[in-house]
């Protein structure tokens, strides 16, 4: 592997709220190579979106990227860049696609304007030329009759169309990295597939890297080559996609895979991991997943697990790496016991 395009080391993004310091991202390290698609998966509240926003330095007060965090992109440390320099990168070298295509577009401007604005800011081209480029880009994302669609307002487009607009906006400057934050969550299933295909297709044409953030392992399976599982502000497992699905190591990953809907199964009932992600202001000591874990034992409470090397490119933050036999004796997780006790 050549020098990575983006390298994050020990990223800590904390929010200083009334109810305490929320350590939303708490020591994340990862790398993305050029042209690669890296997936980040996890429940909401696990810190994946904050990681993405940190890469673009879009953390608003009271949030803050803590000193010592390093986000190296194309040889520059994003954490220490000046405001003008980071703006040069945003939308230009790194862009982002959001999960809510409706609210991510400004309702009072035409979509063409909004796409063209990227070119106006970064390519310093005339209004006319920016518009032409925008229409071209919109056509590229598969919007039929792009010229007239560009003159429409967001509310006049369907959800899938809007997502295409966002993609056009993101790819306008042919960025080195596109961060896609739940790009398909809000769309219905058939559109989801189209959008993912489009992304993969455009990635090939442009040669950009993609950081695919999602809670949906299915999306990962379709798009990513490597995947990172995040939980409670930390990376808990990292592996090649095939490896992860075949041999998930972390109990959390295991739970995620189990909770995937399977075609042909009863869709009314979903397998879910009991309990919820703890509040970021009070991560539990020891293993942060301990209370929801069916395998946890004393060690999990006593010691915060490090990232254990499991395979060649497979790491996991679980003490099971030390005592793998415990996997054979699951018990009801603590949260379930508590729940029973409470009822």
């Amino acid at each position: 592997m050549t020098a990575p395009l983006l390298s994050i080391r020990n990223l800590r993004t904390w929010f200083y709220t009334e109810s305490g310091v929320a350590r939303a991202v708490d020591g994340v390290s990862l790398e993305i190579g050029a042209g690669e698609t890296l997936g980040i998966v996890g429940e909401s509240g696990c810190g994946k979106s904050v990681t993405a926003l940190s890469i673009l330095r879009l953390i608003q007060p009271p949030g803050r990227i803590e000193a010592g965090s390093i986000i190296e992109f194309e040889g520059k440390d994003i954490v220490t860049l000046g405001d003008d320099e980071i703006r040069e990168i945003r939308g230009n070298r790194i862009s982002m696609i959001f999960q809510e295509p409706m609210s991510a577009l400004n309702p009072v401007f035409t979509v063409g304007d909004q796409v063209a604005e990227v070119a106006r800011v970064h390519a310093k081209v005339s209004r006319k030329e920016a518009w032409d480029r925008a229409v071209e880009m919109l056509a590229l994302t598969g919007i039929p009759d792009a010229e007239s669609r560009a003159r429409q307002y967001p509310h006049q487009l369907s959800g899938g169309m809007r997502q295409r607009v966002l993609i056009a906006m993101a790819l306008m400057m042919k960025p080195a990295l596109v961060i896609a934050d739940e790009p398909t969550t809000a769309l219905d299933v058939t559109i989801q597939a189209q959008i993912l295909d489009l992304l993969v297709d455009l990635q090939k044409k442009i040669g950009t890297s993609i950081l695919m953030i999602t809670h949906d392992l299915g999306v990962i399976a379709e798009t990513a080559s490597r995947v990172i599982v995040m939980y409670a502000g930390e990376v808990v497992e990292e592996a090649q996609v095939d490896e992860l699905f075949a041999k998930p190591h972390h109990p959390y990953t295991e739970g995620l895979i189990h909770s995937m809907p399977h075609i042909g199964h009863d869709q009314d009932r979903l397998n879910v991991i009991p309990g919820t992600v703890p509040a970021p202001t009070e991560w539990p000591a020891g293993c942060r997943f301990r209370e929801r874990c069916p395998y946890s034992w004393d060690l999990c409470e006593a010691e915060h697990p490090p990232l254990y090397q499991i395979g060649t490119s497979h790491v996991s933050r679980c003490h099971l790496a030390v005592e793998p036999q415990r996997r054979n004796n699951p018990h009801p997780p603590l949260v379930v016991e508590k729940g029973v006790a409470a009822a």
Binding site: R90, M96, F98, N106, P107, V121, H122, H155, M169
Partner: protein
Amino acid sequence: MLRYIAQRLIQAAVIVAIVAVITFVLIHIAPGDPFSAVMDNPNVSEAVRQTLRAQYGLDRPLPEQFVNYVNSLAHGELGWSFSHERSVREVLGSALPNTLLLMSVALVGSFALGILIALIQVARRGSVTDHTLSGITLFLFSMPDFWFAILSFLTFTYWLPIFPVGGVVDPTVHDYLSLGGRIADRLRHLVLPALTLTLLASASVARYQRAALLDVLPADYIRTARLKGLTERQILRRHALRNALLPIITLIGLSFPALLTGAFFVEKIFAWPGMGYAVVNAIGTRDYPLVVGGVIIGSILVTLGSLIADLLYALADPRLRSH
């Protein structure tokens, strides 16, 4: 869109009709006869008494009085002002342009000023500037209109006599001035009352607009804009303001009653010969037809204001425009 306009027009007409009923009730709810003071007033001539009796038909049964009242209102007749010795329509008709001038200058001024203040505050949110401006707008917002107008009048005509003491023009010279001089004379008289009303009204605009901008800022499309690499200033001006302006159009409609009330006091204190001045003077002379006429016209103004604001909103918001 056309249907919306039609609907809104009908709604406004219904409101005006209800207002007419309410004023009729107001006239009759008072103990005795609101015109008794007028009827027996030695200064009121027999002709006026007859006009009043005919106008209000006070000796008739209530339903008939109501029909007559509605009928005369429908014909634009608001009764006879005995303190002016002319019809209420004539009195208010000649005063209305002055009130509208004052209100529109203050409306434009206060929204421009209020939005500017809000932009400054939001651009530096949390700073000392922000807090200071918040304090000032809150202070202005909490100030009774008449008290602020008194202070402004005293300060700039009595202690620092910079501005003329009320009126729309200086009647002693106005007609003998050149065109430029006449315009200058009008402006000189307009500045202080308009500024007073502007400041009074801008406080609520600034407070509202600041909140609206802060509401908009966490929106996803602002993040999108930031993501595109726009500067904070560009984001505020282009993306945030444009969206935060939509609620402000609603505020235009909502601010009409307050603006009108403010205009009443400002007109009284600055002798600005508008509707408010006429009605306030009518209070002193118990010129009840003129007071009621003022209430009706004021309510129509407010209804029209909110109607216009709603239509503007529909025009400005692309989401509504296409429906």
